[in-house]
Amino acid sequence: MGKLISGAEIVFKVLEHHKVEHIFGYPGGAVLPIYDELKNHKTIKHILARHEQGAGHAAEGYARSSGKPGVLLVTSGPGATNAVTALTDAYMDSVPLVCISGQVPTHLIGTDAFQECDTTGITRPCTKHNWLVKDVNDLAKVMDLAFEVATTGRPGPVLVDIPKDIQFKKTNFVLKSSNKKKLNGKSKPNGKISSSDLDKVINLMKKSSKPIFYTGGGVINSGPEASKSLRELVSITGFPITSTLQGLGAYPGDDPLFLGMLGMHGTYEANNSMYSCDLMINIGARFDDRITGKVDEFSPKSKKIHIDIDPSSIGKNIKVDLAVVSDVGSFLKALNKRIKEKHKDFLNSNKQNISKWWKDIDKWRQKKSLNFKNSKEVIKPQYAVQRLYELSKNKDTFITTEVGQHQMWAAQHYKFNKPNRWMTSGGLGTMGYGLPAAVGVQIAHPDKLVVDIAGEASVLMTMQEMSTAVQYKLPIKIFILNNQYMGMVRQWQELLHEKNYSESYTAALPDFVKLAEAYGCVGIQATKPDELDEKINEMINTKEPVIFDCRVDPAENCYPMIPSGKPHNQMLLGPEDEKEEVTDEGKTLV
C-alpha cells in the first residue's frame, strides 16, 4: 500500500501527468484545498485572472495559440456561473478546455448552501461532458478522462466539479491511462480512411471544371501538419481556396490561389465562387449560417464533399454528396499521397479544365470588394488594420479580436500566414473575448507580439483583465478601433431599422489613455491618419502592455456584406449598393 494523498494533490498529479504548465483561475471557498496544494507543484504556474470569464477566455487563447488544452480553476457558485460564457464559447468554437470547479461539501449538496449551484446541471449543455466527483477514489480516473474527452475527436470544453470534502479526502493514487486510441473518450469506431473514398474524391475533382476548397477551423484544430498538407493539396491541384473566419491562417492569406474569407462579410470573389462552383470541397468547416446565408439557395449547382471529424456536423445544415468522417489532417495527408501516386500530373492535366473558372474568378476579383474610400482627415478603421498589418507582418504576430465590425475588418485586412495566429470568437460571438484571450496567448508565447484588435464597446466588458496583464508583465497590445458605437449593431440599425440607433451609442466612454495609466500600463491615442504609422510603431516597440485608442470614423460600415436571407451572389459592396437596394426593392444587385 502506497502513501495516501489528498484529492487536491490528485488533481495536480493528473495535471502533471498531462504536462500542464499553466492554469488560469480565481480562488474561492470551495476550491481552497486545491489552491493550498499549488505551492507543492512548481512546474505548474497559476495565472490569477480578475473574473472567471476572463480566466476562461485566457485559457481559450492559450489553447488556440498553442494547440494544448487550456486549464481553468474556479470556485463553486458564482465562480462556476461566471465561467459559463467562456465554456459555451469554447464549445461553439471547438477549443479544448478542462475546467475544474470547487463545489460545496457533498453532505451540503442540494441544501442551497452558501455559494452552491447545480454546476453540472448548468454546464451540461455547454460542455462535451462533465462530472461531479462524489468519491475520491474516482477522482484520478475522471480527471484523466476529462483531458481525453476535451482533446480527442472534435475538441471542446469539459468540467470536473469537485466537492470540498473530496479535495481533503485521502486515498491511494492510481492512474491507469489506457493506450487504446479513443475518440471523445469512447472507443474509436474506425479511423481508417478507405482508398475508395479517396478515389471518389479524386474522381469528382477530375470531373470538375469549377472546383473550390472551403476550409475551416478543423484544419487549425488538426494541428500544424494539417495546414502543411492543405498547402500541398492546393499546390498540386491548382484549385482556388477560401476559408471561414476560424480557418484563417491554415492557408497563406497573401497567396494568389486564396480568395479571402467567405460568408456574410467575405470577399466578392469567395462568395461568388461558392455560389457558382460545380464542386465544393469542405474541409473541417460546418456550414454555419453566417457562411451559407439562405440555405435553399446555397451553392445550387455544386456537388459537395464534406470532410469532418464530427459526424453530427455532416448533413446538419447542408446535404452533401460525399462525406468522410475523419481527422482532416490524416485525410489531407492520405489524399495528397493518393494523388501523387496515381495522378502524378494532376495539376497540368487539369489546368485546361479549370482555366475558364479562374478567368471568372479574376473578373470577380476586379471588383476589389475590400476597397474603401480612404480619408485624409479621419482614420478609416480598415486603414488602421491595414497599417497595423503592414507594420507587424514581419514579426510572428498573434492577433485576437473582440466581436463586431472591428473583428470583420481584422479578418478582411489582416493576412495570416500561419495557423494558430488568429484567435476570435466566431460561433458564440462573445464581446469581451479578445483582451483575456490575448493574456492567454501571451502566456503561451511570452516573446511574441500579441495584439487584440478591439472595439471600445467589447473591450469594456472584460477590461479588468488589464490588471492581470500588468501583474504578469504581459506586453499585450489592445488596439481599439474606437468609433463610440457598438458598430455592428449601429450598422444593422442603419440598414434594417430605419437608422433608429436604439441604445447603440456609448456616451461617457472612459479616457482610454488615462485608463491605461490607471492600470499601470501605457496609453497611446491616434486621431489623424498621418500620425498612425508612428503611433503604431510606438505601440509595437513598447515593452509594457498598451491600450491604443485609435479614434476612427464613427459612421463607417463593414462591407462587403450579404444581406440577411440572401444567397451568396447578392452582395452589397458598399454604401452605393445599399441606396439602390432601398430605392428599388426586389431588384437584385448582381
Binding site: 449560417d289 439562405k294 440555405v295 435553399d296 459526424p311 453530427s312 446538419k316 446535404k319 440577411s564 436571407g565
Partner: protein, 182 residues
C-alpha cells in the same frame, strides 16, 4: 420582396415529419437521463413518450426508448447527437410503422361504475392482454398492453363507462425474430 429585418436567414423548406422510435443504450449513471432529455429540449426536438430502466444489472446499462417525430434530417441529427454523448453506447432508430418492430405500451385504468358498465369496460379491454389487478364493490383496476393509438382509443371508449383514472407508460420496442440490434 419585403426586406428582411433579421440578422438570420428565413426558414427554408421543411421536409415531411415522421414518427420514429429511438432506442438508446446508456451507462446508468447520475444525470444520464438529463443529458439525453436535455439534448432533445436544447435542440428543439420532440419527445412524445419516454421509457427508461436498467436492463443490465452487472454492466449498469439502461435502455431508453424515446418516441419522437421530425423530418428525416432532424431524425438523423438526433441519432448523431446522441451518439456523441459520452455515456451513450449505441443508438437504434425505427420507423413507427416498421413491421419488423414490436411496440408496446402499458396502461392501467381505474373504472368506477355500475356492474353492467364495468362488464362492458372489461369486454372492450379484453383483446389487449388485459388483467384485472384489483377489484372492489363498485370498481376495478385493469391493465392492458397495446399500441399508443389503441390505448388512446380505449380511453375514449372507457370514458362513458366510468373511467376515473389513467396511468400509462411510454412505448418500449424490440425487433422481431432472432436478430438483435448491434
Amino acid at each position: 420582396m419585403p426586406k428582411s429585418k433579421s440578422a438570420y436567414s428565413e426558414p427554408g423548406k421543411l421536409g415531411k415529419s415522421e414518427h420514429h422510435i429511438i432506442v438508446v443504450w446508456v451507462d446508468n449513471e447520475a444525470g444520464v437521463l438529463a443529458r439525453v432529455v436535455g439534448l432533445f429540449s436544447g435542440r428543439g426536438y420532440n419527445i412524445e413518450s419516454l421509457a427508461v430502466a436498467e436492463v443490465d444489472k452487472k454492466k449498469h446499462i439502461s435502455r431508453i426508448t424515446i418516441v419522437t417525430s421530425g423530418t428525416p434530417s432532424v431524425i438523423e441529427q438526433i441519432k448523431l447527437q446522441l451518439k456523441k454523448l459520452i455515456p451513450v453506447h449505441k443508438v437504434a432508430d425505427f420507423k413507427r410503422n416498421d413491421p419488423n418492430i414490436l411496440f408496446k405500451e402499458l396502461a392501467l385504468f381505474k373504472v368506477v361504475s355500475s356492474k353492467k358498465n364495468r362488464e362492458k369496460a372489461q369486454k372492450v379491454c379484453k383483446k389487449y392482454n388485459s388483467f384485472i389487478l384489483d377489484k372492489s364493490k363498485n370498481s376495478f383496476v385493469i391493465q392492458v398492453t397495446a399500441l399508443r393509438r389503441e390505448i388512446d382509443k380505449l380511453i375514449e371508449t372507457l370514458s362513458p363507462l366510468g373511467l376515473v383514472s389513467t396511468s400509462r407508460t411510454g412505448a418500449v420496442a424490440m425487433t422481431r425474430g432472432s436478430e438483435i440490434f448491434k
